[in-house]
């Protein structure tokens, strides 16, 4: 089978501008989010956990309280900042662990032969068949709820997906002729994986990481909302939603702020992932 010459021109149409917009928005939102989370370690307008009953349920724009206060008089903006911290740690933590384990597993499945592949892939399938929420609840029941539990639950859920994605990307890189050349030079498999395969699947890894990061934040919010995530004095946006639920008839905006925060950050991260994929893919895939 021969591979025939294709056109030497590379199409770079107007879509590039729209692509950059996606990426730009994604970057802006992500940076703002991370900045907010990190800033919370150094400065908080008010203590987010100490009740101040006289100042309860103040509306947004009140002096000293940027977004107002909740039912116990705690500053909403400060709570959001600390909540961002949680989202960042849990989301990034879960995604990172999945990335590391998933990459190792995926590369091994792709390169170490049929038995390794079957074992790893079936293992991943089994893990995938258990719903993430169930895992989270079981873990919460056994080792107690909290940030660490959530990270573990997220990892167990995302790792098999990551494995699959990396495995398939690695398989297609391993088909290329430069891998054959490396084998001809008797390079050991682990070296080929590290030197040749990993850089070429890096794009896929980065994109998946941002997407799972976003999913992690959403899941963490859901778990905290249900009460099996973090608890006071840690703060989570999901937890804020739960507390706001009791005030729905009295002060609806309470639920709006954490909800909006979740939506914006998750959307921003997804846009970042999409934008990155568009930027990285053409160099990797469409050059052929």
């Amino acid at each position: 089978m021969s591979f025939a010459p294709t056109t030497t021109t590379t199409a770079r149409p107007k879509r590039r501008r729209r692509r950059n917009l996606t990426l730009t928005i994604g970057i802006v939102v992500t940076v703002a989010f991370v900045a907010m989370a990190l800033a919370s370690f150094f400065y908080l307008p008010h203590n987010p956990n100490v009740p101040r009953i006289p100042d309860r349920l103040l509306p947004a724009g009140s002096p000293g309280y940027l977004l107002g206060t909740d039912a116990l008089g705690r500053d909403i903006f400060s709570q959001l900042m600390v909540g961002a911290r949680t989202s960042l740690m849990v989301g990034a933590g879960g995604a990172l662990i999945s990335l590391i384990i998933g990459t190792l597993a995926g590369l091994s499945a792709a390169a170490f032969g049929r038995v390794a592949d079957e074992t790893i892939s079936r293992g991943a399938d089994i893990m995938l068949s258990i719903p993430g929420m169930v895992t989270a609840l079981v873990l919460a029941a056994t080792i107690g709820s909290g940030a660490l539990t959530t990270i573990l639950a997220l990892s167990s859920f995302f790792t098999p997906s990551f494995t699959r994605v990396i495995r398939s990307a690695a398989l297609s890189v391993l088909q290329e002729d430069f891998i054959t050349a490396a084998r001809l030079y008797a390079r050991p498999t682990w070296f080929i994986l590290l030197r040749h395969v990993l850089p070429n699947v890096a794009g896929v890894m980065i994109v998946q990481f941002t997407l799972y990061f976003a999913a992690g934040i959403l899941t963490e919010a859901g778990l905290s909302y249900l009460g099996v995530g973090v608890t006071r004095p840690s703060i989570s946006w999901g937890m804020m939603l739960n507390e706001a639920q009791q005030q729905v008839g009295i002060s609806s905006p309470l639920a709006m702020w954490p909800g909006l925060a979740i939506v914006i950050v998750v959307l921003g991260l997804n846009l970042l992932g999409d934008g990155l994929r568009d930027v990285l893919d053409p160099k990797l895939a469409r050059r052929a």
Binding site: A4, P5, T7, T9, R12, K14
Partner: protein, 325 residues
């Protein structure tokens, strides 16, 4: 006169933003005629084909006139075009592996085309499909029709594509490197089939390839493309026996065919020095001048048009020194 030409292309230009892959190309395919478009990578031949079918990638635009079935295809809506694609004008692509739908049975894919354009019932479409497959010399057609693309060979896949292209008796079939991905032994069968089937249906054929012998075997007329323009145009017998443009001559001389190699190992292919220029950095004047043995200042200054005898050259080849014996 009698039947209008299958397609008439006038001053077609195709490009994106400020770069043109096709720069003012004109040719006519008479009804039932066979014309070959010869060119290498970067010549613009594939973009020409896509422009004719209205299948340009996003961001690419076409200007000029492409007269077919009474309309200028360049200015048509996608709706008007899609009613013609597959019916009056169809295409056979290069790589059968990626142009057949991998998750549908091949028989269904052919039947789809018939059902959609000929307005017949599904059952009738299936019947016509089998008849078509028999014509394509495909073995055990009923069984083959139920196969998926990955289960059949490259040559068979290409014949399925040809069947899809011919199903509605189109006025014009565009074949873009139809046999490049196939083994030489299969190539012959497929080309033979394409030639016979198109002449039987009186469909015109636009054959696009970089393989000169294929054009010589299949077509009556040839257009040689270089850097987005047609540099030589004429009857294939004339152009290939007495090429007047230096690029055409270079192409003919650089092929290791049994015509120009001495089998005792003493011959040496004459290759054209240099490379096809990238579209963003085309030479001024005649795009071929940096690689041309006969280039002069005039060639760098002015771009030549096709002369009366079909060559776009300021100093065309006068006589053919190395004859194809």
């Amino acid at each position: 006169m009698s039947t209008p030409p299958a397609i008439e292309v006038r001053n077609l230009s195709v490009g994106y933003e400020d770069i043109n892959a096709v720069r003012g190309v004109s040719f006519t395919v008479p009804a039932g005629g066979r014309i070959g478009l010869v060119g290498e990578s970067g010549s613009g031949k594939s973009m020409t084909a896509l422009a004719l079918m209205g299948l340009l990638p996003a961001g690419w635009t076409a200007q000029g006139e492409v007269m077919h079935d009474g309309l200028n295809l360049v200015s048509q809506s996608d709706r008007a075009l899609s009613s013609r694609r597959g019916r009056t004008i169809s295409m056979v692509f290069q790589d059968p592996m990626s142009s057949l739908n991998p998750v549908r049975r091949v028989g269904d894919q052919i039947a789809d085309v018939i059902h959609r354009h000929n307005g017949v019932s599904r059952r009738e479409a299936v019947r016509q499909t089998i008849a078509l497959m028999v014509q394509m010399n495909l073995p055990r057609p009923e069984q083959l029709a139920r196969s998926y693309p990955h289960q059949i060979s490259g040559g068979q896949k290409q014949r399925i594509m040809i069947a899809m292209a011919l199903a509605c008796y189109p006025q014009l079939i565009i074949a873009d490197e139809p046999t490049t991905a196939l083994d030489v032994t299969v190539q012959k069968q497929v080309l033979r089939l394409l030639k016979a089937a198109t002449s039987e249906r009186n469909s015109a054929l636009l054959m696009i390839t970089h393989d000169l012998p294929v054009i010589a075997a299949m077509c009556d007329t040839v257009a040689v493309m270089y850097a987005g323009r047609i540099v030589e145009y004429g009857p294939v017998q004339q152009v290939f026996r007495n090429p007047r443009h230096h690029y055409t001559r270079g192409l003919l001389d650089s092929q290791p065919t049994m015509d120009n190699i001495a089998l005792d190992g003493t011959s040496r292919l004459v290759s054209i020095p240099g490379m096809v220029p990238p579209l963003q950095r085309l030479p001024s004047g005649c795009a071929f001048n940096p690689r041309c043995p006969a280039a002069t200042e005039k060639c760098r200054a002015e771009m030549p048009e096709l002369d009366r005898d079909g060559a776009a050259c300021w100093h065309p080849v006068q006589t053919r020194e190395t004859a194809i014996a």
